[in-house]
Amino acid sequence: MVRIKWLVTLLALLVLVLGAASISAQDTAPEVLVTADWLEENLDNPNVRIIEVSVNPGVYERGHIPGAVNFVWHTDFVDPVQRDIVSGERFQELLRAAGINDDTTVVLYGDTNNWFAAWGIWIFNIYGLTDARLLDGGRVKWEADGRALATDAATFEAGNVTIGEANADLRALKDEVLSVVLGETAGQLVDIRGAAEYNGEIFAPEGVQELAVRAGHIPGAVNVPWGQNVREDGTFKPVEELRALYAGVGIDGSQPIITYCRIGERAALTWFVLHKLLGYEVALYDGSWTEWGNSVGVPVNNPAGTVWGGQ
């Protein structure tokens, strides 16, 4: 009897030590990523505000992480008239309406693979709000874990957050990309689209409208499809594995990096990996292929040789 008690105590101690070890392991992980466990413990934390950025309409409304507010990527994060990101003034209004203060920790998550949540993080960073974190694995993992969802839309008292000037270093415009392509500025390009798009075999992924009149990629860009950043369950691969993945194609942070995709949003996930997790100097080219593939006079590399409109 005594021996069993002793064993139980020992086991309990072991569990405690292991638990503590795993917690400290989490602590050393970058501050930019939160786990579902952490978020679940902080659902009632008034200094944490959760924002869902999902691609598909109706997803947030039919159940979201309790307390989360909804940001719509195609109206809240962009200028709906001119092709540009949201203005600072309007963004600040939105954040205040969501009850965000200067000291609030913001956690973003979304459907698909956090694509548009990562794009949201990029916007937050552009406007100087660098304590915006991403929920590792996003909505898919949260649901797969069987964690609770709520359907009531959260409302908050207006916050007092003040945003900064837009940080141009995080964003690449077409001329800056061209200057890298022409060798006038140092830099490397990462194309995160699928291989068939990169090679110019197709203009857009299956089922997606073709929005560019040229196929292929920006000359000099390496192709690392976004999916290589994540594990099967949607969480990011370990930092060292990611570092090796990109080093394998010559992206090691020794030069400034520019990421791009088709319409400019998914590339934010790779921007997040390279900049926030690996600490490299990275800008997102949000014009992406829908700008480059339609621009007159810019160089294009089209290995497959597909001709728009047919041969």
Binding site: G58, D152, A153
Partner: protein, 446 residues
């Protein structure tokens, strides 16, 4: 017709042994269908590419099928009873569905979009553009209903009862959908693009919109009270298809043998001793008598709310229309992109290679109706003539064409639209009623 009631106490005396064997067969088959439905729903839940929404859609569809069949929730039959037979009993099922649906949608909207004045519309609620195209579409739909003998949801549940015109009407609807796409392309810029997408809560708020909604329903209810039949005319014993086509069967059958009657207008049996619930009376209420229209409507309204909360608003044409669109797309006959179509909520069509959630819902609807009509001994393959097949096909084409342009049918645009406080739902309803009324006047249905 010899009458057999599954689980009931009074199977007809003649041919007892053969009918009890028939009853056993029917019950077994119904059970197999029910188990199949539940089994498929269970498997879908974890199936790659489907998941909880597909599974849930199948079950909602089955529940709708049971409710439609047992409550005879057939828009055409209900309208014809009212217009031709001056019997508005069934209309109260529609009013009840809209009342409960409206309350349900208001509850869901409050959670989905707390501020009705934000300038946004609630996600994927069936709020459509209001233009003359919607009116024409509704008229065509009403005429198509009369010609073919039922609306699209009516054909789907009556397919489960053995209505032999239903397959012709449904094929016709798929063809009509195809024609509708071409019409859409030609009228979009002229009429639909600039048409107002009017949503009442954006003007009146949720409370105001719901109050207005209920007030209008009450006014219709008061008007319709005059057309309720007296209890004398209640009950004859007709086969399922007779009851759909003659319209003389008052929905609330008298409880044969126990004398108690339930009537919307004047209940005579509140204190009747025979109202006491027994297993036999329950079985009779569920499987033998037609469901009370108010109960039927309330269940339909509730299912509409549940469907919107969990999956998408109720509708029955999206999979059908998608089949047409996919076929036309494969044949290279239709533009990849239909002007502006994807910017409206409604029974959306897409080029698909798979069974959508709406497809599962429709499958559940037909099978749910089939199972319950077996249990109720109402399954009977109806007689078919060349003429009735042809008119079903033609009516189906009109319905498909109309529901493509209206972005839904009597379920998607009328029921889910009005419940969502969309003006388009009311306009479509008015046009459908006028279309049915005119067709009945012109004797198109006979």
């Amino acid at each position: 017709m010899s009458e057999t009631v599954i689980g009931g106490s009074r199977a007809a005396a003649p041919a007892r042994s053969s009918s009890s064997r028939g009853a056993w067969l029917r019950t077994s088959l119904a059970l197999v269908v029910c188990i199949g439905l539940v089994g498929v729903a269970y498997l879908l839940h974890d199936a790659a590419g489907y998941g909880a929404k597909a599974s849930f859609s199948l079950l909602i569809g089955a529940a709708l099928g049971v409710t439609f069949a047992r409550g005879r929730f057939c828009f055409f039959c209900i309208l014809r009873d009212w217009i031709e037979k001056r019997d508005s009993t069934g209309m109260f099922a529609i009013l009840a569905a809209l009342a409960v649906g409206g309350i349900g949608y208001a509850v869901v909207f409050g959670a989905f979009l707390p501020n009705a004045f934000s300038g946004r519309l609630p996600p994927d609620a069936h709020i459509g553009p209001v233009s003359w195209v919607l009116l024409v579409a509704g008229l065509a739909f009403g005429v198509g209903m009369s010609l073919s003998g039922a609306c699209i949801s009516g054909h789907l549940y009556r397919l489960g009862e053995g209505y032999s015109r239903a397959p012709f009407a449904l094929v016709g609807a798929a063809v009509g959908f195809g024609l509708g796409f071409f019409t859409w392309q030609s009228v979009y810029l002229g009429a639909i693009r600039s048409a107002p997408v009017a949503w009442l809560p954006a003007t009146f708020g949720y409370g105001g919109a719901l109050a207005l909604h209920l007030a209008v329903l009450v006014i219709f209810g008061i008007i319709l009270l005059r057309y309720l039949p007296s209890s004398k005319n209640l009950s004859t014993n007709l086969t399922p298809h007779e009851s759909h086509t003659t319209g003389s069967l008052t929905p609330l059958r008298a409880r044969r043998g126990d004398g108690g009657e339930v009537n919307l207008g004047n209940s005579t049996s509140d204190t009747d001793e025979s109202e006491r619930l027994t297993l036999a009376s329950l079985a009779s209420t569920v499987f033998r008598q037609r469901w009370n229209p108010l109960v039927t409507g309330a269940i339909v309204g509730l299912l509409g709310m549940v469907a919107y909360l969990r999956v998408e608003p109720l509708g029955v044409t999206s999979q059908l229309g998608s089949l047409s669109r996919t076929a036309l797309d494969n044949a290279g006959l239709l533009a990849d992109r239909l002007n502006g179509l994807d910017t409206f909520a409604g029974c959306a069509t897409q080029v698909v290679q798979t069974i959508t959630e709406n497809g599962w819902l429709i499958g559940g609807l037909v099978l749910g109706s089939f199972a319950v009509s077996l249990l109720a001994n109402r399954f009977q393959i109806s007689a078919l003539t060349f003429k009735s097949a042809l008119t079903a096909l033609g009516g189906g084409v009109l319905m498909g064409w109309g529901s493509m342009l209206a972005l839904g049918c009597t379920v998607g645009t009328l029921l889910s639209g009005i419940s969502a406080f969309a003006l388009s739902g009311w306009v479509f309803a008015a046009a459908v009623i006028i279309g049915v009324w005119a067709s009945l006047r012109l004797k198109l249905h006979s």
